[in-house]
Every structure is written in structure tokens, then in C-alpha cells.
């Protein structure tokens, strides 16, 4: 029983990280109806920036904030420069651009920082640990929850957050009330990238830092986003936690750690087949 509890809590900690990345995916999906395949690599790249800052002697939380700011600007620039030209292109073209972005970020990271695996520090003091959770697990979960709360407040209570939701839902009407829809999309990309960067910095102490560190995490985030409903932020968070717990329990007691990733594959195809709108998503009806 204790072993189960241990796995559940560990699952919640990693699940929180999946939840943040899933939320980043959902934010971009809501605004553009696209799934950003490069979300993981963007987070990975930001984490390398954090690593460089730390190596240069910048204190952890300063490096953390600088990295988040960098990721935000980076996300905005990517939307403006790379994504904007294919905004109305067929799905295949956009998917190809995302994959191109993924490959470029991955290789540039490898080029600059080499492919050797690096350790990444955890900022949380040992005192944070509890009986069933390591200090980093507790800290990562807390940071995730703070990020989610901030996002909730931003989208729910600020005029800019409201305008971003409006632009995602109904671009035409948004322009008619004076919202600069193009900038709202870019802002959404920036926020998604910033949230992803936090996820990257929180997961790096666990999986270690290397250019391919996010591929598995991205898959869990896909599974989480789909499980919750790809257009539901709340669903993505819940989905992330569920996926984290499931992954840990199945990995520990059923299929073994080496096949954990298959849990994500099965979840993704399973959800898509049985209930494509997830548990909280809105059912899409397409006109023909």
C-alpha cells in the first residue's frame, strides 16, 4: 500500500510537469487549432539557456525568471517569423513547419551545447522533502501549481487575458472591437513558450539535460491534453496529473519502466478512438 502511495505522489509531481506542457499545447490549440509539435524542443532550448545562465554564476531564481522572459520573447518571435506565413496553409504544410522547427531547435541545441547529457540543479532545499516525496518533487509540484494559478488569474480577470480568449474564439468579432488579433496569437505563443520553459526547468533535474530530453515528456503532454480535451485548459491540467499517476503506477507494477512510454501511445490512440473530444473538451461538429 505504501508503495502505491509513493508512486501516486511521484506521479502527481511529474504529472504536474506534463500538465504545464499540456497547457502550453492547449493554449496554442485554442488560438490556432494546431498542435505545436515543437513545444517540447522549445522548452528544451529554454532549459539550456537556464543552464548557461547558471553556469555563468547567475543565482537560480534570477536565471529562472530570465529564462522565462527569454522563452516568452522567443515564442513571440517564432510565431511572428515562422508560423505567421503559413497561418492559413493546409494542415500538412503547418505540420511540416512544426517538424522543421523541432528539428532545427534540436540540432542547434546539439550544435551549441553538445549531445552529452548534463545534470541540472534543483533549487529546492532538503527541508521541503516529506515522507513520500523528494524535495524536488514537492517543489516542482508547487511551482507548477503557482504557474497554473497565475495563468488562471491572467485569463480570467485581466482585460488582456479576456482579449486573448476572445481572439482565439472569434477573430472577426475581435477585430471589430479593436483587438489586434495577430498580436494576441503571438502573445499566446509567448505565454505557451514561457510555461513550457518552466516545465523544462522542472523536469530537467529528473530526466537530465540533453537535446532529446523532451520527446517523451511531449508525448505524455499530448496524452494529457487529449485526455482532458485538447481545447480545455482545466482538462489539460487534470489530464496531466492523471497521466503522471497512471504512468508511474503502470510502470512500477504492471509493464515495467522501459515500456512506460507505450502508456502514452496507448492513451493517445485510445482517447482519439474512443472519445476524441477528451473528457472536458467541446465536441467538434464540422459542416460539410
Amino acid at each position: 500500500m505504501e508503495a502505491v502511495l509513493f508512486q501516486v505522489l511521484a506521479g502527481l509531481a511529474t504529472g504536474g510537469i506534463y500538465a504545464s506542457l499540456a497547457l502550453a499545447l492547449v493554449m496554442i490549440y485554442q488560438a490556432t487549432h494546431l498542435v505545436n509539435f515543437a513545444q517540447g524542443e522549445m522548452a528544451m532550448f529554454a532549459t539550456y539557456i537556464a543552464w548557461s545562465l547558471l553556469n555563468a554564476g547567475v543565482p537560480y531564481w534570477a536565471a529562472f525568471l530570465l529564462t522565462v522572459a527569454f522563452a516568452f520573447v522567443f515564442g513571440v518571435l517564432i510565431e511572428r517569423i515562422v508560423i505567421r506565413p503559413v497561418e492559413n496553409a493546409p494542415v500538412l504544410a503547418v505540420v511540416v513547419v512544426f517538424i522543421g522547427l523541432l528539428v532545427i531547435l534540436n540540432s542547434v541545441a546539439g550544435w551549441i551545447f553538445s549531445y552529452t547529457i548534463k545534470s541540472f540543479p534543483s533549487p529546492f532545499p532538503a527541508a521541503l522533502g516529506i515522507r513520500y516525496m523528494s524535495p524536488h518533487q514537492v517543489g516542482a509540484l508547487a511551482v507548477t501549481l503557482v504557474v497554473l494559478a497565475l495563468l488562471y488569474v491572467f485569463f480570467r480577470f485581466t482585460p488582456l487575458g479576456l482579449a486573448m480568449r476572445a481572439a482565439a474564439q472569434n477573430p472577426v468579432s475581435s477585430r471589430l472591437v479593436g483587438i489586434r488579433v495577430g498580436w494576441m496569437l503571438a502573445l499566446g505563443w509567448g505565454l505557451a513558450a514561457a510555461v513550457g520553459a518552466v516545465a523544462g526547468m522542472m523536469v530537467a533535474p529528473i530526466v537530465y539535460l540533453d537535446p532529446n530530453m523532451m520527446s517523451g515528456i511531449l508525448l505524455y503532454a499530448f496524452a494529457a491534453a487529449l485526455l482532458g480535451g485538447i481545447d480545455s485548459p482545466g482538462g489539460a491540467v487534470l489530464g496531466g496529473l492523471v497521466v503522471g499517476v497512471l504512468e508511474n503506477l503502470l510502470g512500477a507494477f504492471v509493464i515495467g519502466n522501459e515500456l512506460k512510454l507505450v502508456v502514452a501511445l496507448v492513451l493517445i490512440t485510445g482517447v482519439l478512438l474512443v472519445r476524441p473530444s477528451g473528457f472536458f473538451g467541446s465536441v467538434q461538429v464540422s459542416r460539410v
Partner: protein
Amino acid sequence: MTALLELSGVQAAYGATRALHGIDFAMEENSITALLGANGAGKTTTLRAICGMVRTEGAIRFAGQPIHGRRTEHIARLGIAHVPDGRGTFLHLTTEENLRLGAYVRKDRAAVARDLERVYGYFPRLKERSHQQAGTLSGGEQQMLAVSRALMLAPKLMLLDEPSFGLAPLVVKELFGILRAINAEQHVSMLLVEQNAAMALDLADRACVIETGRVVLTGSADEMKKDDAVRRAYLGY
């Protein structure tokens, strides 16, 4: 006195299909102009052209300032509020969020709060439904919401695209009464596209008749009501 809105030689096209062949008219401040015409004559396109929602040629001036070729969001910021056909409701947001979006470009919070109360005064039913998702409102309520959202911009000019569409006659009457009051009390000018020509002419000061993308007749609303051709074609008596 310069005209509030002035269109001269405005042409517009959807891809290869020309919808407007040269629209000319002007309207004065604090006035209501009705655009009459058959389906497909170019009334909706004229409103879209003013808002920069279609590619246009020709000159459009608003309060003396050229606005043609500007982005839609920019034109909105100048004080032109468009109530589009289909109402353009943000279905997944609440009624109040819809209204707040209407005032998105305004920075004077106190005045926005006052306007919100004023709008609720015109349409008490929206206040009752202020925290309800806008998608759950009835058609009439959504039309009121669309007008209110436009009003929250504190516009100089409102473009209304078929506000009576799909509404019960009583609701239409109520809505037009409020539009008249808004014009009288807040000095908002209106450019009105309506299928219901009789109601439109009752409300409007002036009217333009559009046929196949051209203005063929302009005059005061009273003259129009008496014009035989207009009566036969649009008033049906």
C-alpha cells in the same frame, strides 16, 4: 461642416467577384442613414468595406480622415462599431465579458463602468443574464448583446447589419425604439442595413438605395417613403 462618413467611388471584390462597383454617399454627424436594396445588392459589403473587412478601392473618409486600407482593428479604434450580420457573439464568454470586450480599447475605467450600467438600463434582460454564457442567450437577446457590445466602444458611428434578422416583430419594435433613443441621447450616428425597409425608413433620416453594387438613389427618408419605385420595390405597397 464636413461629413462624418464619406464614401466615393468605393469598389470591392471577393476574389474575382466584384461586389461593389462604385459606392458614393455621405452621412452627417448625429444622423441615421438606411441602406436599402435587394439581396446581393452590396449592402453588407458596403459595411464591410467601411470596416476594412474586404479589399477595397476608392476613398473612404471618417470624420475627415482617410480610413480606406486601414486594418479593421484600427478602424474600430477610431470609433466605428460594427454590429455584423450573424451578430458576432463570443458564444463561449459570458454576457458581461462580451460587453467588456466591446470596451476593450477604452482606457477610462470609470466611464466604461458608467456605460455598462447605461447599457443594462437600455436592456435590463442582459443584466439578468450577465454571468450566463452568451451562447445560451436567445436570438433577440444576442442581438441586444451585439448592439450593446458596439455601444460599449462609445462609438461615433454604428454600422448595423440587419438587426431585425430572425427576431419576432415585437422584439424588433423594442430594439428599434432603443436604437432611436441611443441616437437621440448619445448622439451616435448609425448606418443601417435592413431588409425591413419600412422600419428602417421610420428610424432613418436619410436613405440610399443600392442596386448591383451602385448607389442608384439617395434622399431623405420621408422622400423615399413617397417615392413610387422605392415603394413598389422595397415597401410592398
